[in-house]
């Protein structure tokens, strides 16, 4: 294959990492959701690009789901939800922004080191992509770990899933079963999360995970 094609793929994957960093930085809830949409958008582009260069049309489906569900449907729903719950106020990360950013950089470095260990026998493209995907996943987890608010944790989780999709599509010719399962899992995830948020709404007026934590079985 010609290099520029690969470079485009790289660019998109790198863009995904970049958005992850922005999410890591962003601490306003609604803005965070917008970034989540952007994240999904970049992802769908990347997937589409892969579909083209691998001329694997089925990947278009994945790209479409990413675009439709993650870039549009879910952000909209989330925005509505936080409106309804009345929490667009400032949400502070648990640890300072700068510290989080540093940690994020460290994670990306780690991902690269671990992945570039692999011999080049795997196609270079795949290798680089996997490294970037791994960074996205780690960053997603970092977001989940450093945020208190359930919605922002959901956002982190979804960026993590995006990383997965990136990896899956980067792995050429991976049977469709995987993409379907990813989409499936995301769907399940969203539905169940929705159920939970709804129930939680029933019980108490906040989605703070900490509020949930008050009801632990053994506290006297």
């Amino acid at each position: 294959m010609m290099l520029p094609l690969l470079d485009t793929a790289h660019m998109l994957a790198g863009g995904l990492v970049l958005v992850s960093f922005m999410m890591l930085y962003q601490d306003r809830l609604s803005a965070l959701i917008n970034l989540l949409a952007l994240h999904a958008l970049v992802l769908s582009l990347a997937v589409a690009w892969q579909a083209w260069i691998q001329n694997a049309p089925e990947l278009i489906i994945t790209a479409a789901t990413a675009l439709g569900f993650k870039a549009i449907a879910i952000p909209v729903a989330l925005q509505r939800m936080i409106k309804r719950l009345g929490i667009h106020r400032e949400i502070e990360p648990v640890v300072g922004i700068s510290a989080t950013m540093l940690a994020g950089i460290g994670l990306v470095a780690l991902a690269l080191v671990v992945m570039l260990r692999t011999t080049a026998s795997a196609a270079p493209l795949a290798r680089e992509d996997i490294a970037l995907a791994l960074s996205v996943i780690l960053l997603g987890m970092l977001i989940m770990v450093t945020r208190r608010n359930a919605v922002s944790q959901v956002a982190g989780f979804m960026s993590l899933e995006n990383g997965l999709v990136l990896a899956a599509t980067g792995a050429q010719g991976m049977p469709l079963v995987v993409e379907i399962s990813v989409a499936f899992s995301i769907l399940i995830a969203f539905i169940v999360i929705g159920i939970f948020l709804f129930r939680i709404r029933e019980r108490f007026d906040t989605v703070e995970v900490q509020a949930l934590d008050q009801f632990r079985g053994e506290r006297r």
Partner: protein
């Protein structure tokens, strides 16, 4: 023969299941104990025959149970036969006793199913010839006895005792398990034959010795692993207490002999030193506790610790002599150990039976509420007195015979080459002598307060003689105490094959000697003749008594006790358990047990009674166990917050674990 043994043991297990089936029926007690009596008698007979007939040979058998590729191996050699005989004699007596005593059981459903299983497990331990079968039966024995300890589970302290007991038991099992694992190696050939063939060398053997001491010692009640024993043994019904003290501790002794003398390879000289030290410590600590104890069953349990110490001291001697290839001396020491194990089974079971009878007759176990039972329970008082004389190691009873052998073995110690042993053995001898003297004091106190004097409580005054079956069992064990004391030579020769099997040497044959004298080493060194001593004492006592009655006055008159002219100042003026022990408390207790007496003297003119409050501690418990338990709970408290973290924290654990493993990968190579 071994097939028959196994069949009988199987029958015992079936009996346990049957007991579950018919727990409702009123006949259950009679049926179960009757069945157990018959079966254990048969087992005893077989074991005795085996001991007499086997010699150096052995019978083997294997069943396709347990570990699939190994099966369960059984081996009956003289050593096993001896211990089988000991166990099953005690078991038969206990079953007979329980035929009467069991009627007083409030909840027989909690005793009947486990009693036969307990007996069967003890037998299986002795027969097992592979690590799996051994530990399986060993732990089963613990489990069954634990259930029996919990028979009266409504007393909180019984439950606590049971918990402590089972915990210590499984600690011991784990120790033995590690030991066997080490002996068997990663290949896992667990049969004793294979292990013995490996002949472990050097520090492997040492490690196994340590683990065997932990495992067998925790079951036998060796200091410092004894803390559970005085709690658990008394908690069980008396016939079970008798079995636990009389038989189960012997199973532990057997395990120690089997592992250390046969599987752990050639002993180093200092092994004996360790065992001697532990034995001596157990002897003195145990009997001192017993001296200060006021609960009769707990007192007996503590004295069990003393006797176990005595046995282990002899075993230590045997180890030392064996390490230095002094076969005859090793045989002497081992004979002393086995002989005393047999004796202790006899008199300790008798005493526990007696304690049980007293308990049912008076409803109390407190020495301070007993007294004068010799008048109300005459036919119980006699055998118990005999057992007391025996356990106090007084001639011509059996306890003296075995202790005398131990002393003879100690007198051989100068021939040991190592300095440490040269000095340690006589020192241990001092401890043993001290233990013997204190034991005499202890049982003067026991008998004098419980059976002599005037009743200290209305219950004791109203006590009535116990039932026939119990008496039969008690006499049935007390008489052998005397016989074994009068004819020690016969016993020594009977257990000679077991000694041969354990130390590859035996004492010279005794039965041929003139006047039934026993000569452990050489006539010029020492000799003892129980029957002659006995005859002379009785003869002279009778003649003198007859002469006095014939030629001097025979008049006798009953009158109020003289008591130095004070007249009758009331029953409370009698010496109590505490006051009797007080001089010895002052002499020993204040240092070892930090025993303290707090006297509350009301001001002059006040009508309040003066009180004395006494307290003592078990140094081992306060120094070792309490800190350990405290540490575990502290850790548990410190870690408990990990149950209450927020989801985010838990997720960060996952995250950190992931990052950590990735880092490991990054730096790997």
């Amino acid at each position: 023969m071994i097939a028959a043994l196994l069949a009988l043991i199987g029958a015992l297990l079936v009996l346990g299941l049957a007991a579950v089936a018919m727990r409702r029926s009123p006949l259950a007690t009679k049926l179960v104990y009757g069945g157990a009596l018959v079966l254990t008698l048969a087992l005893f007979a077989l074991a005795a025959v085996a001991l007499a007939s086997l010699g150096a040979g052995a019978r083997e058998a294997a069943l396709p149970l347990g570990l699939p590729w190994l099966g369960v191996h059984f081996r009956l050699d003289a050593l096993a036969a001896f211990f089988l005989a000991v166990i099953d004699l005690a078991a038969a007596a206990a079953s007979l006793y329980a035929l009467g005593y069991g009627a007083h059981e409030p909840e027989p459903g909690r005793v009947l199913p486990f009693f036969p299983v307990f007996l069967a497990a003890m037998n299986l331990v002795v027969l097992a010839a592979d690590a799996y079968g051994f530990l399986f039966s060993w732990e089963l024995m613990s489990l069954a006895s634990w259930a029996l300890v919990l028979a009266q589970h409504r007393e909180a302290e019984n439950v606590a005792a049971g918990t402590l007991y089972l915990l210590m038991a499984s600690f011991g099992t784990l120790a033995l398990l590690l030991g066997f694992g080490f002996l068997a190696g990663p290949g896992g050939d667990y049969s004793f034959a294979a292990i013995a063939a490996r002949r472990p060398e050097g520090w492997v053997g040492a490690l196994v010795l340590a683990l065997a001491l932990l495992g067998a010692g925790s079951k036998a009640g060796l200091v410092p692993l004894h803390v559970w024993l005085p709690r658990a043994h008394p908690a069980a019904p008396s016939h079970v207490s008798a079995l636990m003290s009389g038989a189960m501790t012997k199973v532990a002794v057997y395990a120690f002999i089997r592992i250390v003398f046969q599987l752990a390879g050639p002993p180093a000289w200092w092994w004996g030193l360790v065992v001697l030290a532990l034995g001596g410590a157990s002897t003195v600590l145990g009997v001192l506790h017993a001296l200060m104890e006021t609960d009769i069953k707990r007192l007996l349990a503590y004295s069990t610790i003393e006797n176990i110490g005595l046995i282990f001291a002899s075993l230590g001697l045997a180890l030392a002599f064996r390490a230095d290839a002094m076969g005859a001396a090793a045989a002497l020491a081992m004979t002393a150990a086995l002989f005393h194990a047999f004796n202790h089974m006899l008199f300790k079971s008798t005493l526990f039976f007696g304690a049980g009878a007293v308990l049912t007759a008076t409803g109390t176990r407190a020495l301070d509420r007993l007294g004068g039972l010799i008048h109300r329970m005459p036919s119980l008082a006699v055998p118990v007195l005999g057992a007391c004389l025996a356990i106090a190691a007084l001639p011509p009873f059996n306890g003296f015979a075995s202790e005398w052998l131990t002393f003879q073995a100690i007198l051989l110690s100068p021939d040991l080459p190592q300095w440490g042993l040269k000095l340690a053995v006589p020192a241990t001898g001092t401890l043993l002598a001290l233990g013997a003297a204190l034991a005499a004091a202890c049982f003067v106190r026991f008998y004098g307060l419980a059976f002599l004097g005037r009743p200290r409580s209305p219950e004791a005054a109203a006590a009535v003689e116990t039932d026939r079956a119990s008496l039969a069992a008690i006499w049935g064990l007390a008489v052998p105490c005397v016989l074994a004391g009068l004819f020690p030579g016969a016993v020594i020769d009977a257990i000679a094959p077991a000694v041969q099997a354990s130390v590859d040497a035996r004492m010279p044959v005794q039965t041929g000697l003139p006047w039934l004298t026993i000569i452990p080493v050489a006539a010029s060194r020492s000799s003892y003749n129980g029957i002659l001593i006995f005859l002379f004492i009785t003869a002279s006592a009778l003649t003198v008594a007859a002469a006095v009655h014939r030629f001097a006055s025979r008049a006798a008159r009953r009158y109020r006790a003289w008591d130095c002219g004070f007249g009758d100042v009331g029953i409370a003026a009698q010496y109590s358990a505490a006051s009797f022990a007080q001089p010895i408390r002052r002499a020993f207790g204040s240092t070892i047990f930090r025993a303290t007496d707090v006297v509350e003297m009301p001001p002059p003119g006040a009508t309040a009674p003066a009180r004395i409050r006494q307290s003592r501690i078990d140094p081992v418990w306060d120094g070792l166990y309490a800190p350990l338990v405290g540490f575990v709970w502290l850790l548990a408290d410190r870690l408990n917050f990990l149950q209450f973290l927020s989801i985010r924290r838990f997720m960060s654990f996952v995250f950190l674990a992931l990052v950590f493993l990735l880092l490991v990968l990054a730096v790997w190579h």
